[in-house]
C-alpha cells in the first residue's frame, strides 16, 4: 500500500503570530511546527498500513509525508519521518510563496500525481485544517484537482486491499455516516480518533539523516502562473491587529455578582 500524508509547517499557535506588510503570514520562525492536526493525519496513515502487513514477496508499504512550503518546512517532514513515515517529499520553489488554499491544492495535486505515476498511490490523508489559516479547504480542493473521490473528516478508516475500497465513518453537522469509495481516494481526519504517537528517540535520530526528496515547479510540470500569488484567486488587501474589546468589566464574586450580571444581560437585551 502507498499512502501520502499531507503535512504543513505552521507558526505555533501559542506564539505571537503576525502578518507581514504584504498581507502574508510571517513564517519560518523558530516557533514554527508541524501542524498538530497533521500529526493525526500521519497517525491515521501509519495505522492504515499497520493494519495490513504486506504479504510475503509483496513490496513494503510506503508512507510518504508531503509538504509544500518554504525551506524551514523540512522540519515538519523530519518530524513525520521520526513518527514513522518512510519517505519525505518537499515541494520547494520560490514561486510557491503566496499560494492561497486552492493554489496550494494545485501544487499538492501535481506532486501526488507525480508520485502516483512512479508507483501508484492508494490513499492521500490530510488533516482537518491548517491551524494557521483554518480554512479546511485543501482536502476537498485536492480531491477535485486529482479527480479522486473525497471522504473527509473521518474518525475511522478501513481499507479493504483485496476489494480496493476504503470505508470511513464521519460525523457531519447533521448526521453520522459510513461512506465507501474505490481507491485511490483523498481522506481527511478529525482530531478525535487518531491521537498521534510520540516518535521514539531512535526514530528522531534516524529522521535527522534520512533523505528528503525536493521537487520544484519545473519537476512537477507546473506553470508558475498557476501558483503563488499570481496563480491565486484571492488577494489579501489588508490585515490589522484587532483592538482589545473596549469597556471590559471584571468583578470578583462576593455573592452579588450573579445579580449584577443579570443587570448587564438585561441592558444588552438578553434578559
Amino acid at each position: 500500500m502507498r499512502v501520502v500524508v499531507c503535512v504543513k509547517h505552521v507558526p505555533d499557535i501559542q506564539s505571537e503570530r503576525r502578518f507581514r506588510a504584504d498581507g502574508l503570514l510571517e513564517r519560518g520562525g523558530d516557533d514554527d511546527t508541524l501542524n498538530e492536526l497533521d500529526e493525526d493525519a500521519l497517525e491515521a496513515g501509519l495505522r492504515l498500513v499497520e493494519a495490513h502487513p504486506p504479504a510475503e514477496g509483496d513490496d513494503p508499504h510506503d508512507v510518504v509525508v508531503l509538504t509544500v512550503g518554504p525551506a524551514a518546512a523540512v522540519d515538519a517532514l523530519r518530524r513525520g519521518l521520526a513518527m514513522g513515515a518512510t519517505t519525505a517529499v518537499h515541494v520547494l520553489d520560490a514561486g510557491v510563496e503566496g499560494s492561497d488554499a486552492l493554489a496550494t491544492a494545485r501544487v499538492l495535486g501535481a506532486a501526488v500525481a507525480a508520485l502516483h505515476a512512479e508507483s501508484p498511490v492508494d490513499v492521500v490523508v490530510a488533516g482537518m485544517a491548517g491551524l494557521d489559516g483554518l480554512t479546511s479547504l485543501v482536502p476537498a480542493a485536492l480531491a477535485a484537482v486529482l479527480d479522486w473521490p473525497q471522504l473527509t473528516l473521518a474518525d475511522r478508516i478501513d481499507v479493504d486491499p483485496a476489494a480496493r475500497t476504503v470505508e470511513v465513518r464521519r460525523e457531519t453537522s447533521t448526521a453520522v455516516e459510513t461512506l465507501t469509495a474505490p481507491l485511490p481516494v483523498v481522506v481527511s481526519v478529525t482530531d478525535q480518533a487518531f491521537r498521534a504517537r510520540f516518535p521514539a528517540f531512535t526514530g528522531i535520530l534516524a529522521a535527522r539523516k534520512a533523505p528528503v526528496r525536493v521537487l520544484d515547479l519545473a519537476a512537477l510540470g507546473l506553470d508558475p502562473a498557476t501558483v503563488g500569488l499570481q496563480g491565486s484567486t484571492t488577494r489579501v488587501l489588508e490585515t490589522s491587529e484587532r483592538p482589545e474589546r473596549p469597556d471590559r468589566v471584571l468583578v470578583t464574586d462576593d455573592g452579588s455578582a450573579a445579580l449584577a450580571l443579570a443587570d448587564y444581560l438585561a441592558q444588552k437585551g438578553f434578559a
Binding site: 503570530r17 476537498a140 490589522s240 474589546r245
Partner: protein, 333 residues
C-alpha cells in the same frame, strides 16, 4: 452590467435553515438579482411557505435543482448541482454557510470553475473595481483581514449572525424557475453511503446558529445541568470545550473551537473555560463574551466583555434563578 448573486439554501426537507435569511439579506446589499438555489432529492423545489420566506428576505427567484444518481448530501453532488445552475444562471458570487460541508462545497466548486474562495467571512462588500471583498477575523480572532476575490466566480462562506436578517419592504414570494435536473458526475457516484443516521433533534437551537451559547469547560467537573438550565432561560444552546467532550461529559458535536463548531452568537457565556487559543479561534466572533472562572489569571478574561472571578457552581445557578425571577415578575405584571 447587472450582477446575479446565488445563495445556497440550507434546508431540511421543507424547513429553511435560518442562515438562509441572513445570506439573502447580505446578497441583497450586493446585487439586485438574488437567486436562491434549492438542491433536493426531487425537482419540485420549495413549498409555498418556503418560497414566501425566501421572497420575504429578498430572493427574486428560486432555482430548484435535482441531481440524479448520487446521494444529494455529498459535496460532489451539491457541486454538480451548483455547476449546472451556473450554466443556466451566470452569477458572479455564491454565498453559503460556514459549516465544514459548506467549505468543502466552496473548495470543490472553485477548483472546477476557476473561482476564488474566502471562508468564514463576516462582511462582504464590492470595491470600486467591482471585485467582491470579504472581511474576516483570523489568527484566533487576534487579527482581521480583508481579502479580494479575483477569480471568475467569487465563493464566500459566511459566518452565522454576521448579518442581521431583515425582510424587504414589499415582499413577494420567490418564483420557482424551471428546475435544473442533472446527472451526477462520476466523482459523486464514486462515493456510496452505506449508512446515515441523522442526529436526534434537540429542543434547543443548534449550536452553530444559536444567538446565545452557554459553554462549559473542565471547571464544570462534568455537571452540565446548571448550564443547560441557564441556556434554557436564555433560549440558547449548550457548547463545550474539548476537555469536556474528551471527558465524555457531553457529546463531541458540542465542541466549540478551531476543531469543533465555529460559533458567532450574540452572547457567549463561558463557565469553567480557560479560554485556550484553540477554543478562542472558534468563538471570538461572538458579539458579547461573558466568563465565569475562579482563576483571575485565566486567559478568557483577556477577551471577556464581562468577567466574574468566582465559582461557577454558585454564580451560574444564581444567575439562572435571577433571570427566571425577573421573567416571572414581568409575566405577572
Amino acid at each position: 452590467m447587472s450582477t446575479t448573486v446565488l445563495v445556497l439554501v440550507d434546508h431540511e426537507g421543507a424547513r429553511v435553515h435560518p442562515t438562509a435569511t441572513e445570506l439573502l439579506t447580505l446578497a441583497r446589499s450586493l446585487a439586485d438579482d438574488v437567486r436562491a438555489v434549492w438542491i433536493d432529492e426531487g425537482p419540485t423545489g420549495p413549498d409555498a411557505a418556503a418560497r414566501e420566506l425566501l421572497g420575504r428576505f429578498g430572493a427574486s427567484g428560486v432555482v430548484p435543482v435535482q441531481v440524479t444518481g448520487a446521494d444529494p448530501h455529498l459535496t460532489a453532488t451539491v457541486v454538480d448541482g451548483l455547476r449546472a445552475v451556473l450554466g443556466a444562471v451566470p452569477a458572479s458570487l455564491l454565498l453559503l454557510g460556514s459549516t465544514f460541508e459548506d467549505r468543502e462545497v466552496a473548495a470543490r466548486l472553485a477548483v472546477l470553475t476557476g473561482g476564488g474562495v474566502v471562508t468564514g467571512a463576516t462582511t462582504v462588500v464590492r470595491d470600486g473595481d467591482g471585485r467582491f471583498v470579504a472581511g474576516k477575523e483570523v489568527l484566533a480572532g487576534s487579527w482581521s483581514s480583508r481579502c479580494a476575490i479575483t477569480g471568475d466566480l467569487a465563493v464566500v462562506t459566511v459566518k452565522p449572525h454576521s448579518t442581521q436578517a431583515v425582510p424587504v419592504d414589499a415582499p413577494v414570494a420567490a418564483v420557482a424557475a424551471e428546475p435544473v435536473v442533472v446527472e451526477a458526475s462520476a466523482a459523486a457516484r464514486a462515493v456510496t453511503v452505506v449508512e446515515r443516521a441523522p442526529r436526534p433533534a434537540s429542543d434547543r437551537p443548534s449550536l452553530a446558529d444559536a444567538e446565545v451559547v452557554v459553554v462549559g469547560g473542565r471547571g464544570t467537573n462534568g455537571d452540565f445541568a446548571p448550564l443547560e438550565e441557564l441556556a434554557d432561560v436564555l433560549g440558547g444552546a449548550v457548547g463545550a470545550t474539548r476537555v469536556a467532550t474528551d471527558e465524555g461529559w457531553i457529546g463531541h458535536e458540542a465542541q466549540v473551537g478551531q476543531t469543533g463548531v465555529t460559533i458567532s452568537p450574540r452572547l457567549y457565556v463561558g463557565a469553567g473555560v480557560s479560554g485556550a487559543v484553540h477554543h478562542r479561534g472558534g468563538m471570538d466572533a461572538a458579539v458579547t463574551v461573558v466568563a465565569v472562572n475562579e482563576d483571575p489569571d485565566a486567559p478568557i478574561f483577556e477577551f471577556a466583555d464581562y468577567g466574574i472571578v468566582g465559582d461557577l457552581t454558585e454564580v451560574v445557578p444564581a444567575l439562572t434563578q435571577e433571570l427566571r425571577r425577573r421573567r416571572e415578575a414581568r409575566a405577572g405584571s
